[in-house]
């Protein structure tokens, strides 16, 4: 167990590194996912088709392959960025599809009467989506979006396993594989680190759910 105490600063740095990946991917995928969801409900057929095509492709292929694409294929095409950003990009593109699905299911959960009322007082598509449907959708989006976010936090470990370095998972591989420490205490420490991210998030999310939930 003294591995954990001796290398505590390493674990803390890894924890912060993981948080960094998570924060960037969170912001990116929320923005991209919302845009995709709007595409999927828009009146313009090509946009709708693009949105649903993107979602069904991403949802059916592993995150690992997405990372192989962003990390190995993009540089071949002359798109060079630091490895960290390529990893974050992969996680963002992947998570965005699930955010899109969550947001869309939220939009669908708003009773049709709301959208009809908005339309019948003369609001345009953009207005009724923006000021009537979306504000309500966001509330029913929180539970599914919450599980997407938690899954993304756990998926940040895949980015770490991919060799981005400096995150919690790479601390685990470094201490066990390269420096030969016993696997059980080190990996338990890593596991606790991830639980310290996911469990509080789950708790906060269920609090928010209780606060903003609208009963239908």
């Amino acid at each position: 167990m003294e591995v954990l105490v001796d290398n505590f600063d390493l674990f803390v740095r890894g924890f912060l590194g993981s948080l960094e990946i998570i924060v960037y991917a969170l912001v990116g995928s929320l923005v991209l996912g919302t845009i995709l969801a709007m595409m999927r409900v828009s009146p313009v057929p090509p946009l709708r088709r693009f949105g649903s095509g993107y979602v069904s492709i991403i949802r059916n292929s592993p995150l690992t392959i997405m990372l192989f694409f962003t990390a190995f294929v993009l540089p071949e095409l002359g798109f060079n960025a630091p490895f960290f950003w390529l990893g974050v990009l992969g996680l963002t593109l992947y998570t965005a599809a699930f955010v899109c699905e969550a947001v869309r299911s939220g939009i669908n959960a708003v009773p049709a009467g709301q959208a009809e009322a908005a339309r019948s007082v003369g609001l345009t598509f953009g207005q009724s989506l923006g000021s009537v449907v979306m504000p309500q959708a966001i509330r029913s989006v929180i539970p599914p979006l919450g599980s997407v976010v938690i899954a993304m936090m756990k998926n940040s470990a895949v980015v770490g396993a991919f060799g981005v370095g400096g995150d919690l998972f790479s601390v685990g591989t470094r201490l066990t594989s390269a420096q030969g420490f016993a696997a059980l205490p080190v990996l338990t420490g890593v596991l606790l680190g991830y639980l310290a991210i996911t469990l509080p998030t789950a708790a906060v999310l269920s609090r928010i759910e209780e606060k903003v939930a609208i009963l239908r």
């Binding site: 690992t64 071949e76 059980l184 789950a202």
Partner: protein, 320 residues
């Protein structure tokens, strides 16, 4: 969504149709421009060179047969790992749910704690954990089994949650009827509640299989085997030096497998809801409104994840 007029906008009149057409054209042109740029980019980096594609896609190529033999093995290992993982997850998940239903509030605390820990942990870490920690305790298995153990450790909890949501969605009368005819609580859970929960949650269980199939590819990152699809692809890229083409093919194979599973999930969902409404039609006679109401309720209740099962599947959709 396809074609059907949405409540979000009017059935388009002539003006709106024109505007939508103009927008469509603009969007298509924009997409084409992006596609053209990508194609140019691909060309200038030599991605269209035939020797990058031929071994994978051209049956006349001398390496084609050998390459596809390896891909076939890859698909087999991927499916094998996924099948073993779902099998163990189902067995353990059922056991977990049974325990949670039968144990008293305090006795089930350790079970709940274990479930929470496993559910909050990244799968990739659990796989890595299995491959590193088990050998230290003298459990020496092949890499395939570490993958299966890692996948099972996460997924049995998720399947347990799915089943629990299924049991919760059953009408309370089922349990009461079981107890009333003199079954014990154990018998009621095993003979009355769980079999129905399985049926109710079949679509969600199949969707979870999609997640497992996808997660087998994590072995390529943290294990030294088995020769599953992604590892095979990785080795092919080292040989042919064509990451774009190979990963495209690997992604395609995953997409094919998983969309077939997705189809199966939607199909069973449809079949089940048909069976449910057909079963209800008879006793309730002509009160159509009552019938549809209860159906809607059953569908809503069948959605796992709206209680506290937040990482389990929502409405039969695979989670990331």
């Amino acid at each position: 969504m396809s074609g059907a007029p949405s409540v979000l906008y009017d059935a388009p009149g002539p003006k709106a149709r024109r505007r939508s057409l103009v927008l469509s054209v603009v969007v298509v042109v924009a997409f084409l421009a992006i596609a053209a740029w990508v194609v140019l980019r691909l060309r200038s980096t030599g991605q269209f060179a035939p020797d990058r594609w031929a071994p994978l896609f051209w049956p006349g190529d001398e390496q084609f047969v050998q390459v596809w033999g390896r891909i076939g093995t890859g698909v087999r290992y991927t499916l094998q790992a996924a099948a073993l993982a779902i099998l163990f997850s189902l067995v353990l998940g059922t056991a977990l749910t049974t325990l949670r239903l039968l144990l008293g509030r305090y006795a089930r605390l350790p079970v709940v704690l274990l479930a929470e820990v496993l559910r909050g942990a990244p799968v990739v870490l659990l796989i890595f954990f299995a491959s590193r920690v088990l050998p230290q305790f003298g459990v020496d298995l092949s890499q395939l089994w570490y993958l299966v153990i890692g996948l099972t450790a996460y997924n049995f909890v998720v399947i347990g949650e799915i089943l629990r949501a299924g049991v919760a969605a059953l009408p309370n009368g089922q349990r009461e009827a079981g107890l009333a005819i003199g079954l014990t609580r154990q018998q009621t859970v095993l003979l009355i509640q769980l079999p129905q929960a399985f049926r109710l949650m079949l679509p969600a269980l199949i969707s979870q299989l999609v997640v497992i199939v996808k997660d087998t590819s994590l072995a390529a990152l943290v294990l030294t085997g088995p020769q599953e699809l992604l590892r095979t692809g990785r080795q092919l890229t080292q040989f042919f030096n064509n990451p774009l083409q190979t990963y495209l093919l690997v992604a395609l194979l995953f997409i094919i497998i998983n969309s077939l599973l997705g189809r199966l999930a939607t199909y069973t969902e449809k079949r089940l809801s048909q069976a449910r409404s057909a079963g209800k039609q008879e006793p309730e006679g002509d009160i159509t409104e009552t019938r549809t109401d209860t159906d809607v309720e059953a569908d809503a209740a069948a959605t796992p994840g709206d209680t506290d099962a937040d990482t389990s599947t929502t409405q039969g959709r695979p989670q990331p």
